[in-house]
């Protein structure tokens, strides 16, 4: 049986123009006006009232994960019978982002939402849209591990500091981490050794490129020597955004400043792109967007180095519990899980990623407090451990990480090919062992666009080489210009989030813009009438 684990290439993975325009309006239309009032933690949670909150959650198209969300909600509602949590499921962050932006404009945001810090930076351009969590964290009664919380919640100190700091920007915490992952290189060790190589302790880019090039040798009939098949893409990268970001960080080259200054268009970037181009030319490298899921090629013996999230580990390897390819296409090989390639093995650097949770402000502080209690419940050991075990995720609290249950889980690596699937637990362990080597990119309004642009550079170069275009210095200059323009990175303000689309506005965006215009007009008319009415009344007063 074949299954498509998710839609081919999500149409909402990038920021939509409509969302961009609304985001821009949020930025420009509300200056000087007051949105939602500042949230203040109520002295007491009013349990005499009922609350209905919505939770927009992201899963990896994984039924176990959605079941865990549902169980968490059921368990939470037992503890708090006056709070009803309505779940809405998403499978990609981009779609959540677009929907949140649209709903900010209509004041219909969810209460609790899984998201990326990059995206929160745009949400924050609305007035008081996202609740700063500092006071909630510290509240002795309802805060983290507070006295009135009806479950065992972690204290602030028990949230892994690096993960928590990723949710802090502009001087406040605007989210809590929910799960953390990094990227791993899933390797067909059998083929590496068949090619005459031995895996080093730490992968280097030079090693990966050399082995990948060596794997491209074909016989006179077009069969690759290493696998005897007509297809072999030795090195496939799932997220080219991450690839470029990590390459630059490892080289200590510019990406952006904390304040949002764009530094990515530099000589190191060009040099890295030229290297990638060389290996596309040999047939050694491709990307998910161009070819397909790295896991599909790896498991069919058509890829040697597959780089994907540790949260994709259950798809990797001959014995992977999840697979999109038919059984007859599966190839037997030994799978090794390693850190992504490095330039300096003694000083490794890898990205920290994974879902965070933010809370949207509402006019009723009690409703916000109900949202916070549910959000905090997501940090309980029950939820953290259960969800982390679905993939190569890592719990974000030391409470969960050090629990006997989680330690037992880690110790049973390889016991079966489901709960204790070795590749999955190795992937999680990779992050647990290297938290100090992780980094995140600066968060600012527009950082989501910069991330998209970083990946686009690699995608464009890869496509161009495959299409026999000349990739030279002139090409690079044009590429930089095109990507700068496409993602509006050249503007003085980095407030813009999203690709620039030239030409006519889409109908939906036009309708939304027109509606906003009408709304403002009606507000002005109403205010005008209010001002004029007393004047008219006094004039005609007898």
């Amino acid at each position: 049986m074949r299954n498509q684990k998710q839609k081919k290439r999500s149409r909402s993975a990038a920021v939509s123009l409509g969302a961009f325009l609304l985001g821009t309006l949020l930025l420009t239309g509300c200056h000087g006006s007051r949105g939602m009032a500042d949230f203040a933690v109520p002295e007491e949670f009013d349990t005499s009232r009922s609350y209905e909150i919505t939770f927009w959650a992201k899963n990896d198209t994984n039924k176990t994960q959605t079941d865990i969300y549902r169980q968490a909600i059921a368990d939470f509602q037992e503890l708090y019978p006056n709070i009803t949590v309505n779940l809405r499921l998403y499978t990609d962050y981009g779609r959540i982002y677009n929907d949140v932006i649209t709903n900010i404009a209509t004041n219909t945001t969810p209460n609790v939402c899984i998201t990326y810090p990059d995206h929160i930076a745009t949400y924050l351009t609305g007035n008081n849209t996202v609740v700063p969590l500092d006071e909630l964290f510290a509240d002795t009664e309802y805060g983290l591990g507070g006295s009135q919380v009806r479950f065992d919640a972690p204290s602030q100190e028990e949230i892994i500091p690096q993960f928590l700091e990723e949710c802090s920007f502009g001087g406040h915490y605007y989210a809590i981490p929910y799960m953390r992952s990094t990227e791993a290189c899933y390797i067909n060790k059998t083929y590496v050794e068949a090619l005459g190589y031995t895996l080093p302790e730490t992968l280097t880019w030079d090693f990966v490129w050399e082995v990948a090039d060596a794997a491209t040798v074909q016989d006179s009939e077009g069969n690759y020597l290493v696998n005897g098949q007509k297809v072999m893409i030795p090195f496939i990268y799932k997220s080219t955004d991450n690839m470029m970001i990590q390459l630059l960080r490892q080289r200590d080259a510019g990406y952006s400043t904390e304040e949002g200054e764009i530094l990515i268009f530099n000589d190191t970037t060009k040099e890295l792109l030229h290297t990638i181009a060389e290996h596309v030319k040999t047939g050694a490298f491709s990307t998910f967007k161009i070819s397909s899921y790295p896991a599909n090629f790896l498991n069919a013996g058509q890829c040697i180095f597959a780089i994907d999230s540790t949260a994709g580990a259950t798809w990797m390897g001959t014995d992977a519990p999840l697979s999109d390819i038919s059984e007859d296409a599966l190839v037997e090989f030994e799978t090794e899980v390693m850190m992504i390639p490095q330039f300096d093995p003694g000083n490794p650097k890898m990205i920290s990623q994974g879902p965070s949770v933010c809370i949207f402000n509402k006019s009723d502080p009690q409703e916000v407090l109900a949202s916070w209690l549910f959000t905090q419940y997501l940090l309980s050991n029950e939820v953290q451990i259960a969800y982390a075990e679905t993939e190569g995720y890592v719990p974000v609290t030391s409470l969960a990480q050090s629990s006997a249950e989680y330690q037992d889980y880690l110790s049973r690596s390889g016991e079966d090919n489901s709960t204790y699937y070795e590749v999955k637990i190795k992937a999680a362990t990779l992050l647990l062992d290297h938290v100090d080597h992780t980094f995140v990119t600066p968060v600012f309004n527009g950082s989501a666009s910069l991330r998209d642009a970083a990946g686009q550079l690699i995608e464009n170069v890869t496509k161009s080489v495959r299409r026999k275009e000349e990739v030279d210095s002139q090409y690079m200059e044009k590429l930089f210009d095109d990507v700068t323009s496409l993602y509006r990175l050249g503007q003085a303000s980095q407030a813009a989030a999203g690709k620039q689309e030239l030409g006519r506005l889409p109908l939906t965006a036009a309708i939304l813009l027109a509606s906003l215009g009408v709304a403002w007009l009606l507000i002005l008319l109403y205010v005008g009438c209010k001002l004029i009415k007393p004047l008219i009344s006094s004039k005609f007063k007898v």
């Binding site: 049986m1 498509q4 939509s16 123009l17 198209t61 109908l507």
Partner: protein
């Protein structure tokens, strides 16, 4: 405001669903119904098939159904009298997308690409051609299931007759929301059908046919053991994975 947004989205979605319920009424004519004379510099289907991957291709074809429009990019199922072409994320304004009604002839320039076995045209541009229109009849490929010949009909509008609904998972459900049941109403539907002891996974692609369409409702009403006829587009994802647009009881 909310109503406006909903209306706008509904309109946009409605425009994407013209493919569902395609009656497959065959060659419908125009002045030039029996011959596909290609313009100068345009490939025949055979030339397109022979073209290497990642090469530029120029074709003339006829819209059969539209899957989606998003950010000035359209994904469209098209076919001429010799074969089919799947156009992925083709540059397209919304105004032009509205003009792409089934049967419309278009000239497409893009790159031949392959993603998980699906051969398609990417990074394409197009122009609408005047003159003949063409809507393909559903080609019955039931007998080709499980054969190497089936892929020669990739992306065509096809029919499958007399197939039996099988359990979609261990629970015995006749269909799933998303491939593993992790989705909800409005997501893609996955269901299994068998013929001669072989089981295949078919899909109702929710961008092509959403949860307001007849086919979506029909699949939700399927029972394991039902014998059904189906029509749809012969999409590929790591093997045959048809995007079904019509399900009826077997005749």
């Amino acid at each position: 405001m909310k109503k406006t947004v909903v209306s706008a989205l509904a309109l946009a979605l409605a425009l994407a669903f013209t493919g569902c319920g395609n009656s497959g009424n065959g060659d419908n004519g125009g002045a030039n119904a029996n011959a596909d004379v290609k313009s100068e510099g345009v490939m025949t289907y055979a030339e397109y098939v022979a073209a290497p991957l990642d090469s530029e291709v120029v074709i003339e074809t006829y819209v059969q159904a539209k899957q989606s429009w998003w950010e000035d990019k359209a994904t469209v199922y098209t076919q001429d009298r010799d074969g089919a072409y799947f156009l992925y994320d083709m540059a397209c304004s919304q105004a032009d997308y509205d003009k792409l009604i089934p049967g419309t002839k278009i000239k497409v320039t893009g790159f031949k690409s392959e993603w998980s076995g699906e051969v398609e045209i990417t990074d394409a541009t197009f122009e609408i051609m005047d003159g003949a229109t063409y809507i393909a009849s559903a080609n019955d490929v039931t007998a080709l299931l499980g054969t190497d010949d089936l892929i020669n009909h990739q992306n065509e509008y096809v029919a499958f007759k007399g197939m039996t609904v099988e359990p979609a998972d261990d629970s015995g459900a006749a269909f799933l929301y998303k491939w593993d049941g992790s989705g909800e109403d409005g997501d893609d539907l996955y269901f299994n059908v068998s013929l001669n002891g072989n089981t295949y996974t078919f899909t109702v692609e929710s961008y092509l046919c959403d949860n307001t369409t007849d086919v979506y409702a029909a699949v939700k009403n399927l029972q394991v053991g039902d014998v059904i006829d189906m029509e749809g587009f012969l999409y590929w994802y790591e093997g045959v994975n048809p995007h079904i647009t019509s399900v009826t009881a077997a005749k």
